[in-house]
Amino acid sequence: MDRGLAIYKSNCLACHNQDPALDGAVGPAIKGASLELLEARVIRGEYPAGYKPKRETRAMQQFPGLKDEIPALHAYLQ
């Protein structure tokens, strides 16, 4: 299995949709997310400067342990 897909299935599916192009139960569609956005949200729990969030809940937890997996996740989401 593609590493990015494996990372997505194991860590993101609880909130985001199986198809990253669609909205999930908690998290919005994230297909096409930039590397900058993924690093900010996944590792630091922040948004990049000037970014307008798709949802206002700010419920997403941080996954600092995925620091080295962001490039694979980013490649899968494009």
Binding site: K9, S10, A14, F63
Partner: protein, 233 residues
């Protein structure tokens, strides 16, 4: 507010709110029984003990067991809503591993309430009612009372890691990678569960005899489970 409340996200939130409400009702009584009532009753005379068993215990056990029931129902509904889109993959996901570990402990505690503690306490209460009415005590009551205590202490023990995992599922994100040994982790956790629940059914109080002992044991069990997850994930 209402747009959010009546969305899928809002329904999940309301279920989570009710789950915590019923959970407090249940675990509040569990801690009352284990931390407060036991040591207080030990200091009472026969009339005081009779009053507790005949008048207080039936009321407390009502809220205790139905609190457990509705905590379980709301929890399973919440898990169904939030976990269904992952399918079998939920057993190998960050959220799934923590919430399922907490759920197994919670469901075990629910089982202990309804199928170990409640049936045994009914025998104890019927015997106490017979004695209060001038009759003889049921000798079976003296046999089942320590068994109910062991199940109740086990639930107190399990409540510590159960809360850790339930809260951790959404607030303690840990990474799962293709290198994580999820299957072996589940096998080790299953062995730990078998030992703890086996002891609840046919075992000894051991360090759970005292209130301090059961609290300390709860933290130790939490550390052991975290260590298993930390090493294998």
């Amino acid at each position: 507010m209402f747009t959010t409340l009546f969305s899928m996200e809002g329904i999940s939130f309301v279920l989570r709110w009710l789950h915590v409400f019923f959970g407090i009702m249940w675990i509040g009584h569990l801690y009352y029984f284990n931390f407060t009532q036991g040591s207080a009753v030990a200091q009472m005379d026969a009339a005081g003990k009779s009053n507790v068993t005949n008048k207080l215990l039936p009321v407390a056990l009502y809220w205790f067991r139905w609190g457990a029931m509705w905590t379980m129902v709301t929890g399973l509904l919440l898990f169904g809503i939030e976990g269904h889109q992952q399918g079998a993959g939920v057993f190998a996901s960050s959220w799934g591993i923590t919430i399922i570990t907490g759920m197994v402990m919670g469901l075990t505690m629910w089982f202990n309430v309804w199928f170990l503690i409640w049936p045994k306490q009914q025998i104890v209460m019927k015997s106490a009612a017979a004695v209060a009415a001038g009759g003889a005590a049921d000798p079976q009551a003296a046999v089942v009372a320590p068994q109910a205590l062991l199940a109740s202490r086990t639930n107190t023990l399990l409540s510590v890691p159960m809360l850790f995992m339930m809260l951790g599922a959404r607030h303690l994100g840990f990474a799962i990678t293709p290198e994580s040994n999820v299957t072996l982790m589940w096998i080790v956790l299953a062995i730990i569960w078998l030992v703890v629940q086996g002891n609840a059914i046919k075992g000894k109080l051991g360090p759970m005899t005292t209130v301090k002992g059961v609290i300390a044991s709860g933290f130790v069990l939490t550390a052991v489970i975290c260590a298993v997850m930390g090493v294998l994930i």
